[in-house]
Assembly symmetry: D2
Homo-oligomer: 316 residues x 4
Amino acid sequence: MAKAGAFSRSTAGVYAIAPTPFLEDGAVDYVSLDRLIEFYNESGVDGLTVLGQLGEAPKLSAEEAVRIATRFVERTTFPIIVGASAPGFAAMQALTAAVMDAGAAGVMIAPPVSLRTDDQIVGYYAGASAAIGAETPFVIQDYPLTFSVVMTPQVIRRIALENDNALMLKHEDWPGLEKITTLRGYEADGSMPRLSILCGNGGLFLDFETERGADGAMTGYCFPEMLVDTVALAAAGNRDAAHDLFDAHLPLIRYEQQPGIGLAVRKYVFARRGVLASAAQRSPSGRMTETTKAEVDYLLERLSHHDPRAKMSREH
Amino acid sequence: MAKAGAFSRSTAGVYAIAPTPFLEDGAVDYVSLDRLIEFYNESGVDGLTVLGQLGEAPKLSAEEAVRIATRFVERTTFPIIVGASAPGFAAMQALTAAVMDAGAAGVMIAPPVSLRTDDQIVGYYAGASAAIGAETPFVIQDYPLTFSVVMTPQVIRRIALENDNALMLKHEDWPGLEKITTLRGYEADGSMPRLSILCGNGGLFLDFETERGADGAMTGYCFPEMLVDTVALAAAGNRDAAHDLFDAHLPLIRYEQQPGIGLAVRKYVFARRGVLASAAQRSPSGRMTETTKAEVDYLLERLSHHDPRAKMSREH
Amino acid sequence: MAKAGAFSRSTAGVYAIAPTPFLEDGAVDYVSLDRLIEFYNESGVDGLTVLGQLGEAPKLSAEEAVRIATRFVERTTFPIIVGASAPGFAAMQALTAAVMDAGAAGVMIAPPVSLRTDDQIVGYYAGASAAIGAETPFVIQDYPLTFSVVMTPQVIRRIALENDNALMLKHEDWPGLEKITTLRGYEADGSMPRLSILCGNGGLFLDFETERGADGAMTGYCFPEMLVDTVALAAAGNRDAAHDLFDAHLPLIRYEQQPGIGLAVRKYVFARRGVLASAAQRSPSGRMTETTKAEVDYLLERLSHHDPRAKMSREH
Amino acid sequence: MAKAGAFSRSTAGVYAIAPTPFLEDGAVDYVSLDRLIEFYNESGVDGLTVLGQLGEAPKLSAEEAVRIATRFVERTTFPIIVGASAPGFAAMQALTAAVMDAGAAGVMIAPPVSLRTDDQIVGYYAGASAAIGAETPFVIQDYPLTFSVVMTPQVIRRIALENDNALMLKHEDWPGLEKITTLRGYEADGSMPRLSILCGNGGLFLDFETERGADGAMTGYCFPEMLVDTVALAAAGNRDAAHDLFDAHLPLIRYEQQPGIGLAVRKYVFARRGVLASAAQRSPSGRMTETTKAEVDYLLERLSHHDPRAKMSREH
């Protein structure tokens, strides 16, 4: 029972990575979750990816994960991709079956940190593809900074050739601009089927990634509207305007991309924007000091001179 | 509802690491499981650790994990320790609650591979201890070869001092003999509460580990009876006899300890011994070629000259 | 025979990380080297660090390393710090003796990637300090992104307490703002001697690092003049102006900080600025495509609207 | 000026890995070095590999390295292979030129720990081969346990196909038996030129490695005579006798193979055998306690019942 509007090899635009709201005591905050979904519905994004690393998926029980993913599916009209990375195929299979049954558009799979060789990576995706079933579309997550697994363009090509349900690449290699160029070259010379390429990495290189041939962004930056506008400006050939908008946000993008506390910053801004009731994360979590908060406030204040959406309407 | 015979800080002897039997199609083989439990009941071991790495725990769904652990608890009279390592505390908590409710004696927790500094490791165990609850005894698993997390003796001391429910150390650092000596020294000088130290690492150094002060073994070698006898001989001060028995098994111990295919070898021997119906592992798994099987057969044949238990009674 | 103007625990300002110029055939380009030194002499920097990772030090023979370091010492009046990280203490000792004899102000030492525990790191610096001699000042390089060695503030404090010749910290942990605050707190409460803290990491967080208590920058960004001005504006309490200048450069800073091709970008800009004859690196090196060059040119063109020093005076 | 008796693609037998003798104060012990060389000349080995990891090569200055390698060349009649792994190609080139000029038979090159993908590894060896020169034979060192670089058989085939001077593989993958079988299969089907395969890893699997097609051993076990005899017995088809001898040594082989203190054990036994004046290592080094020494003495005493060469003729 897939929802209308599944993603495909030609999907373009912005898929926001959604955080999972928690109350201060660590319980899932379903009230904020509904408000967050409403926020995304109005933000202009083309889809959502939920239960990723930055959705604190590994901290959820299996039941919570399915319940949250289902909530996203039920209250949106665009495709929902669910992070299904797991230590073993049994857990991956169980979660995938549950969320696909609930109407998810597909799943995202990151490689386990233990993989090293090209063959190990290709073999892993073959096993994962079999585990989730050939009818389930999936996204390859290529994030060496976090997972320590380096996929060359050739490896991605092999995965795409071997698995018809590999439709999209979440690209967050670093550096990664040439990788986009190489992959688009493979498609042009006919040696690889097209993949939708949406870029993560906090958006830090989005300005050039779209110019290299990426279809858009898949990241959780606290102003998804900016991602939408930047991708649209670039798609319209409005290069300088795309960079102008992007550059205005770059100091905050850069600040939010710090490992460990980046998610805290993101949730803090969502709280200041009135979307989340609290910036709380489930334990273990990066702490945010008063100095950090003041730095983010300063960045927001500076940003508001360029982008009125950064003007905070209420005290915190 | 804990079963009589919980483990404690002074537990000595052998806790076998139990494999999980699978059918060739990947389903759990509950018939072999019951036969395996019967085998352990007659083997002389003092307890079992189930759902560890070599129990293929990450390949099980949450439901399977609880069902298998419960089966072990119900059909044995000695303590059952359950591997509860998980990517997040929510899953760890859920599994722990279920198996403790079913009568398990405690859980074993390995550190996630991302930990680096002393404080990170100590902090992680504080969080894990809180997640499983102060009333749940746990085993610290110290296995740097697999987890890349190096715990100094001081770090283990800090964990033991901070968490009253840390009762046992599964010691499998490599090299690790001096570590046992250092930890026993901490206990002697009163700076650390006693931990039961059971040694893993496939048993490769068991002959000297007991002499250094370890209380016994916690490993899954395919002849747990040998572990029982070696620990008993060492405890009785029968040094040469302990080494003689151990040395006779060492060629096979060494062969079984190979990462990747070690579990395949172990299951193959259990199958040859008539305990498991099949050596099958759930995917992904190390493959065992005919040459490998012939090498194991040769090692068993050589071993049988020293230890009649290695005489295989039936063709395979 | 140390040159006047050694660095100290209170050194503030900018120490640029100098690249090593090569000809297209891989030979050291001493003509460009002299021009580079002249450039630094006029740039306003307070010192230089040479033969670091981004100085391609591991690609130099021992003789080349000493000759290049000596050239820097002879043609400048400010302190020269020499990267002396080496696989073993014998090579570290030999290089240190040679460059200190030539008039270097001290050496910089990064930890080998194999270190894991707090004690291993502290022990390594004790050995390194003994190898270079107590009279040789050294800089602790804390760069976990590259070296995979994570030093907590407590570890840095232990190193500072145990080694009187540890005078400076090259701070490039990521995230690292709280680390600066914590270290300055240790100094304030008297539990740690003061260290000069100069920040690396390509300058990506320099705007806030100075506000947290860092003394300045030690990095190789292709416009060291901007580093000098930003640190000076921050020191003068001119917060908004410091951020304005920094933000104008941030798109290029971000682009230059990409691992693998960052140095290629840096050398390319130095070549466009007329300082280096060529952007060549000694093999193995990151390649820079025409598209990459065009992207850097675009970034320079945009930057020149805010900072006239980015206006390129001649075609390339 | 190469010495007669260079190694080749068909070299078989034992190349011992030679330790570097030091005095207690850390200076090279040239008296023991000469005695060690004499010992090897009488041991039956077919060649030596010097300045490897276990020769403490990274702790030597460039001058010491060349002097020691030259001494080995001058005082032996069999081929000397020199470890030339270095952080950069310049140092590799300099050392290689010096030792080849002195009469070495070739060099051994391990991959830097930073390599991950198949292409990176193949590319690295292409660069290394160019650096040392096409006329210099080299040995590929495949040791993932220490270097974290995993080479598939296909990668080794690519290196062998691309570099005519790649003549030998030091095989120490773990597990690695199937790898030998696969590589010999490539040779049999004509897809790869033959490599001499000598096995390291402390000799822990030598009994089966020869049966899989390895040409012999390249390791530093403290009884190289046993390696010589085992390889000869296996080559003569005397399977049981080869295993009997090997198994008698296995408790000590296993003990010596512990990372960190293995070299200390090896030097201790060489000292007890009267070859080295001292077991001293250059700092930093693994420490050997009195308990460890007593354990080695016990192992030697037990071994002497099976192999009279383990009978220690003098007190220590």
